[in-house]
Amino acid sequence: MANFKLNINGKVREVDVDPQTPLLWVLRDHLQLFGTKYGCGVAQCGACTVHLDGTAVRACVLPISTIREKKITTIEGLSETTDHPLQKAWIEHDVPQCGYCQAGQIMSAAALLKDNPSPSDQDIDNAMQGNICRCGTYTRIKAAIKTAAKMS
């Protein structure tokens, strides 16, 4: 066990855990931040996507000891008032079915738009290829990303 100070959504949070514990389980089990989801545990589905200093990463394979000072943003910290262009676009296109993968989808898309404010279809395909939606909402996700790109 070791003590870690984490910068999560602009707040410093302290946890005492095994240094190998993936960020995902620290968020969920120790900090009760449930928006980041477990889907596969091997960085294959994208349900656990968060931002580390603005870059999309898979929290399920990220040992807590490797994070250090880096800023973590989860779905809960994406916007203060639910007004991120992607969140607005997600509502406009009424994207979710079951909704389980959607936080990860939005976090992947948010990292994409940050670096590439007007992505092509192919850019979107490439950036979102790591996020599985079992319900099959891909066409709506793509449309929502395009709408958000126009908004911002």
């Binding site: 993936p22 545990g41 639910t82 509502i91 979710p96 079915q97």
Partner: protein
């Protein structure tokens, strides 16, 4: 004018006492109400709520809370079911709050999500709940104003008496209305007067989803709860021999390791009590990660089991099901299915004289279709929160039907059903998997043993390897033609491990003079279960590919050929018990033909058409395929669906789009295989799922407009897409596809088709 007898679902008029009385709505986060509109646009919370019936309560300020009775797994019933109540109640949708109803069979009847039955089975009771409440509000106003009830009208949450000029909001009459006797009969709205039904409304949980609110079973949390996982045998056909948990128990944060048996030995199972692995090892600890690490340290000896019998309830009688011993492999399944296919099957339908037709045929074609096992792979893995405490069981987790599992939880824990409470959390997908909720018994037993609240979670690997798969199937179709290439007979022989996929009374039965249907089944110990449109999800692809081939031989356009058969089925049906409506079937084909502009396709686009009937609805797809870098790219899918009245059109379109994507993914890549009983894919690194790049670039959904009470929607668009993929691939490559998954080995595609 339509009236409805309220007696049909009289128990629905019991009040929902768990929510009774004034005050604010329960604030427990996973039970939180969902606003149909952003919070700033709705009125403030009322000071008091008045229960009108189990489905709704009205606040003193006119705000209405509507209970959604069935579990939600993404089909959006949590929005569409309350919409139906709101319509008949005649309120403004923006003043409606929605809550997931508690599990209570006395009040809500069968709370089940599956079989595309939701809206189909609830339509009348939801309308009645709203209409009855509206009537009671009118009576309350009539009494207060001393005028006849029939003179009172309503509009958007207000009551009016035109003659006296009096008016009042529902909130003002809610207290009095809650005391009015429930009428014996109520008048329903005319369909043409609908203001909410048929008008797209946003998902009531949309905002909660996109902000990461804890809605799912996985998110259920209670201070002090322990985390649990289970270890099941690595292979079907194996059981526990012995284990050594000393190393696991010594790992940090581990509280206990022990075995559990979900079902008592003598328990007579219900149809959904499937469970491949009777005995499991449970590991309990302080956190998920610690339990995952300890699980790896278990030293377990497994051994092959002997053939055994399980007892199932069969409408009051007990039937025995044999679970055969053995370590099964896909290779053997395929060989056995080939063997069974050669033997005579059980004849399930025979029209005309098929033997004679085939004997005199000028031409006969025979085609064999196969499909592998599929894993459900719900994005939210299996999990449940359980707390067995003080002689009571509390369960919260994702499941499709609490009524299915309650008897077994009761038998296993020894706690009577009335002391079992099951909270239905939002499900991160179901697809049939969560109709089999053995994991809830497992969680309850672990909690009981630990005497603590626990959260049971399956890892993705545990989830993917513990069974309840879509079975593997095989179907051989033969068609007989006369010398002019007219179709004169069809013979289908289908089977699977362990069930036959055949629906003998479905199209093209009824449209073919000489028709023979046979089936066979091979017992197995690999557990199977319902998977989105069970059996149809295989038969549609086989049948619709075969019809495409017949049309080609007959020299006919594939849509016109199907329409011709349907005309025959309507005007001059062959045989009895044809279970489809030929007009509605033809309707979706005609609609898709028009909307896809069937006669005019772009150059280098290869088109496949397919249509199917299941769950009382009709769906037809035209799939436009292009080949880029030797890979198939679905440019567009045009869908036409007849599911009767469409309650929430945009959400229904979302379901159809999802069905299309799901079907394309499974047709191209979906596959689970076995070697010596061991599932060969354990996670998404090897189990290929459809992803963004392979999804259609565009999906256009059209609904047939009619006034038929809603029929199934979640499943019907799924089966036919398999045929559309196969038929489009043929056009592109010149090769018919008979074996699913069509791109199993990630093969390259060459454009060699005619495309015509």
């Amino acid at each position: 004018m339509s009236f409805i007898k309220t007696k049909v679902g009289r128990r629905s008029f019991l009040k929902n006492t768990s929510l009774a009385g004034g005050g604010i709505i329960l604030g427990f986060n996973w039970l939180a109400s969902c606003q149909s509109q952003p919070v700033e646009e709705i009125m403030a919370m009322p000071d008091a709520w008045f229960d009108i019936n189990a489905y709704l309560k009205i606040g003193d300020n006119g705000l209405v809370t509507i209970m959604s009775p069935n579990p939600e797994f993404g089909q959006n019933v949590m929005t569409s079911m309350p919409m139906v109540v709101a319509e008949e109640l005649d309120v403004d949708w923006k003043n409606v709050l929605v809550e997931q109803a508690p599990y209570n069979a006395d009040m809500y009847g069968f709370q089940f999500t599956g079989g595309s039955r939701g809206m189909m089975s609830r339509w009348e009771s939801l309308r009645m709940a709203g209409a009855t409440a509206r009537h009671m509000l009118k009576e309350a106003a009539a009494q207060k104003w001393q005028v006849p009830t029939r003179e009172i009208t309503t509009d958007a949450g207000k009551l009016y008496h035109k003659e006296s000029g009096k008016s009042a909001g529902y909130g003002e009459m809610a207290d009095a209305a809650s005391k009015v006797a429930v009428p014996d009969e109520v008048k329903l709205k005319e369909i043409r007067d609908f203001k909410i039904i048929g008008h797209s409304q946003k998902n009531v949980e949309g905002k909660n989803i996109i902000t990461g609110k804890p809605l799912f079973g996985m998110d259920y949390y209670k201070e002090g709860m322990k985390y649990a996982m289970v270890e099941h045998p690595p292979a079907f056909g194996m059981e526990l021999k012995s284990f050594d948990a000393s190393e696991a128990k010594a790992m940090p944060g581990i509280k206990d390791v022990f075995t559990i048996k979900a079902y008592p030995e003598d328990f007579v199972k219900g149809g959904f009590d499937t469970n491949a692995f009777p005995e499991l090892i449970a590991i309990v600890g302080n956190s998920t990660w610690e339990v995952m690490q300890a699980k790896k340290k278990l030293k377990v000896e497994w051994e092959p089991f002997k053939t055994y019998e399980e007892k199932f309830d069969a409408r009051g009688n007990t039937r025995s099901v044999t679970i055969p011993a053995g370590l099964e492999s896909t290779e053997n399944h395929l060989a056995m299915m080939t063997e069974y296919d050669k033997k005579p099957g059980k004849i399930v339908r025979k029209d005309g004289d098929p033997e004679a037709a085939f004997a005199k045929a000028a031409k006969v074609i025979e085609r064999t279709y196969t499909a592998p096992y599929l894993a459900h792979n719900t994005m939210e893995p299996i999990n449940t929160f359980a707390h067995v405490d003080n002689g009571k069981v509390f369960i919260a987790g994702p499941l499709q039907a609490p009524g299915f599992i309650e008897p077994a939880i009761s038998a296993s824990t020894g706690i009577p059903a009335e002391d079992i409470d099951i909270e239905m959390t939002r499900m991160g997908g179901g697809f049939g998997r969560r109709a089999y909720s053995h994991y809830m018994i497992e969680a309850a037993l672990i909690s009981q043993k630990m005497n603590a609240p626990i959260k049971l979670m399956y890892s993705r690997e545990d989830d993917m390897t513990n069974g309840i798969y879509r079975p593997t199937y095989r179907a051989t179709y033969r068609a007989a033609f006369d010398e002019n290439n007219n179709l004169i007979g069809i013979h289908v022989k289908a089977g699977g491990v362990p069930e036959s996929p055949l629906f003998a009374d479905r199209f093209p039965a009824g449209a073919v003079e000489n028709y023979l249907a046979e089936e066979w089944e091979i017992p197995s110990n690999i557990s199977i279960g319902a998977f989105r449109a069970p059996r149809s999800n295989f038969m549609a692809g086989a049948e619709q590919s075969f019809l495409d081939e017949i049309a080609e031989i007959a020299g006919k356009d594939p849509i016109d050929f199907r329409l011709e058969l349907l005309r025959k089925a309507k005007d001059n049906p062959v045989g009895k018990n044809n279970d489809y409506d030929a007009d509605r079937y033809a309707g979706v084909l005609e609609l898709v033909k028009e909307k896809a502009d069937w006669g005019n396709k772009e150059a280098n686009v290869y088109r496949g058409v397919s249509a199917y009937f299941c769950h009382r609805s009709y769906a037809a797809h035209v799939l436009d395929l292009v080949i880029e870098d030797k890979k198939p790219v679905v440019k567009k899918v045009t869908c036409a669906i007849d599911c009767g009245i469409v309650v929430n059109p945009d959400a229904a379109a979302n379901m159809a789009e999802g069905g299309v994507v799901d079907g394309i993914g499974n047709a191209l890549f979906g596959e689970m295989t076995f070697k010596e009983g061991v599932p060969q894919k354990k996670n998404f690194d090897r189990y290929r799922m459809i992803r963004m790049r392979e999804a259609p670039k565009e999906i256009e959904v059209h609904f047939v407009k009619n006034e038929i009470a809603p029929t199934g929607m979640g499943e019907p668009p799924f089966p036919p897409i398999f045929g559309a993929v196969a038929n489009a691939l043929y056009k592109a490559t010149g090769q018919r596809r008979y074996t699913q998954p069509f791109l199993g080995n990630n093969i390259d595609l060459e454009i060699k088709g005619t495309g015509s």
